[in-house]
């Protein structure tokens, strides 16, 4: 039985491919954006830890993945290298170990919040998490392969081939970025990388959007030119000159999405409070540059802002947890806005930039609190 026949059988029988039904109100939980292939985001109120547990980390799948068999899996390193390599997981584990604790965010996180509305997975807030990724630096591997000066891009290939005539998900990143801080990771938060997060090996690209973080990696190839294909030439692109909401651009008027935009979210806020009684508001903030400079909150529609306290835990490109003690002054419905500013001075805008694929949403986030006497 082939893949298509099997799925059709499941559909006709009215069965979940997993046949596992979850308790709808169980805690902790995920928000299912698609049953198969699985796409799920984390409820914001659960994103309160510095390290997001793997089982609560959002999952993005383009189609039912053809995950590699770990027993026979190998990583091929080829292209403009003097010494092509074929590495097993055991080979990789013998190389100098590298770690990065950093944010992974889907490019389309927040797509559902754009207006006019857009096709695609309707992520709201939770296609983001912060984890400790362990493996080997890409630089270490490419140096072992004697990468040639002609190589300018690293082409990425996974075992995740799509059905039918669907174009394969193939990407590339600039070699400069790959050499600077990219990692091929076989562990997540100190445990073997789970299958849904790309086992046995995925790419980690600190500060860059998730479309570069190739899962189920099987081959990296050093090349003089960028990768071509639908997922480079049409998808995951950002307009060179931003237009008004609803204005679409041709692919040649756009460039690949790379660095994340500065962003903060509120994860913890009470539904109600009392005048004069302080309440704690909490959340996280991150950017495509290594750190956040400040997080501020406003209870007067952005007229004045007060600084939140940043948690001391931090690694380059990781998120900063923050907290803010707010004391309501009057009764009624209060709206608290949060905005972050990164160390390069980029500040979160009140309105996100609409773009035709709904990438990198980063408008001010808010919480509404009913204040009683």
């Amino acid at each position: 039985m082939d893949r298509r026949s099997f799925l059709r059988l499941c559909a006709l029988a009215g069965l979940a491919p997993s046949a596992v039904l979850a308790a709808s109100h169980a805690q902790p939980r995920m928000l299912q954006m698609n049953g198969y292939p699985i796409n799920a985001e984390t409820p914001l109120e659960l994103l309160t830890d510095y390290l997001t547990p793997a089982e609560l980390f959002f999952v993005r799948s383009h189609w039912l993945p053809r995950m590699p068999d770990p027993k026979t899996w190998k990583l091929t390193v080829d292209g403009d290298v003097a010494k092509p390599l074929t590495l097993t997981l055991a080979d990789l584990k013998k190389l100098p170990r590298a770690e990065a604790t950093c944010v992974l965010q889907c490019s389309g996180n927040g797509r559902a919040l754009h207006n006019p509305t857009l096709p695609g997975v309707q992520w709201r807030y939770g296609a983001v998490g912060n984890a400790r990724w362990s493996g080997v630096r890409v630089r270490t591997i490419l140096e072992a392969a004697n990468v040639k000066p002609s190589a300018k891009h690293l082409h990425l290939f996974s075992s995740d081939d799509p059905p039918g005539k669907v174009p394969p998900f193939r990407r590339s990143i600039e070699l400069e970025k790959a050499l600077a801080d990219a990692i091929v990771a076989f562990e997540m938060n100190g445990a073997p990388l789970p299958p849904q997060h790309g086992a046995p090996l995925r790419l980690v690209v600190p500060g860059w959007a998730g479309d570069h973080w190739m899962k189920w990696l099987v081959r990296i190839s050093a090349q003089p030119q960028p990768q071509t294909g639908f997922y480079m030439d049409t998808a995951y692109r950002w307009p060179n000159n931003v237009g008004a909401p609803g204005v679409a651009f041709k692919p040649e008027e756009m460039h690949p999405v790379t660095e994340l935009f500065v962003k903060s979210n509120i994860t913890t806020a009470p539904a109600s409070a009392h005048v004069g009684t302080p309440v704690d508001i909490r959340g996280f903030a991150f950017s495509g540059v290594p750190d956040i400079a400040k997080v501020e909150l406003s209870d007067d529609d952005g007229a004045t802002w007060r600084a939140a306290t940043l948690d001391p835990r931090h690694d380059p490109y990781a998120w900063r947890l923050w907290s803010y003690r707010w004391t309501p002054k009057r009764t009624g419905s209060a709206m608290l806005f949060v905005r972050a500013t990164d160390i390069k001075g980029n500040s979160q805008p009140r309105e996100a930039i609409w773009n035709q694929s709904g990438y990198l949403y980063n408008a001010w986030h808010s919480a509404t609190i009913e204040v009683k006497a």
Partner: protein, 99 residues
């Protein structure tokens, strides 16, 4: 590893629920065309105009979705009727993934 063997191995990591599409003219054609690659949620969460649905269906047909030419408009009409700009979608709460 065959695809079926892979899928069976992957099932415990999924833990998701299967949603049904609303009844209506075109439902059977939509299911036949779309379920080969993804479940109903991906359709049910969209809020697209008829023009956007037309572009989406044409893209999917180009990518191999099994839509008979005579059924194309029926599929578009079903999707535009049920999942237009005013559509409301609430994600289903599921268990942690892979737990």
């Amino acid at each position: 590893m065959t695809f079926l063997a892979f899928l069976l191995a992957a099932l415990p990591t999924l833990g998701t629920q299967f949603k049904q599409l609303p009844a209506g003219k075109g439902k059977a054609q939509v299911e036949a065309a779309c379920y080969a690659c993804h479940s109903a949620d991906l359709l049910a969460q969209q809020r697209l105009t008829a023009k956007q649905w037309t572009a989406t269906v044409e893209k999917m047909m180009k990518w191999g979705a099994a839509v008979q030419p005579a059924d194309k408009q029926v599929v578009i009409d079903y999707l535009a009727k049920h999942f237009g700009p005013a559509n409301k979608f609430t994600p289903t709460a599921t268990k942690p993934v892979g737990k």
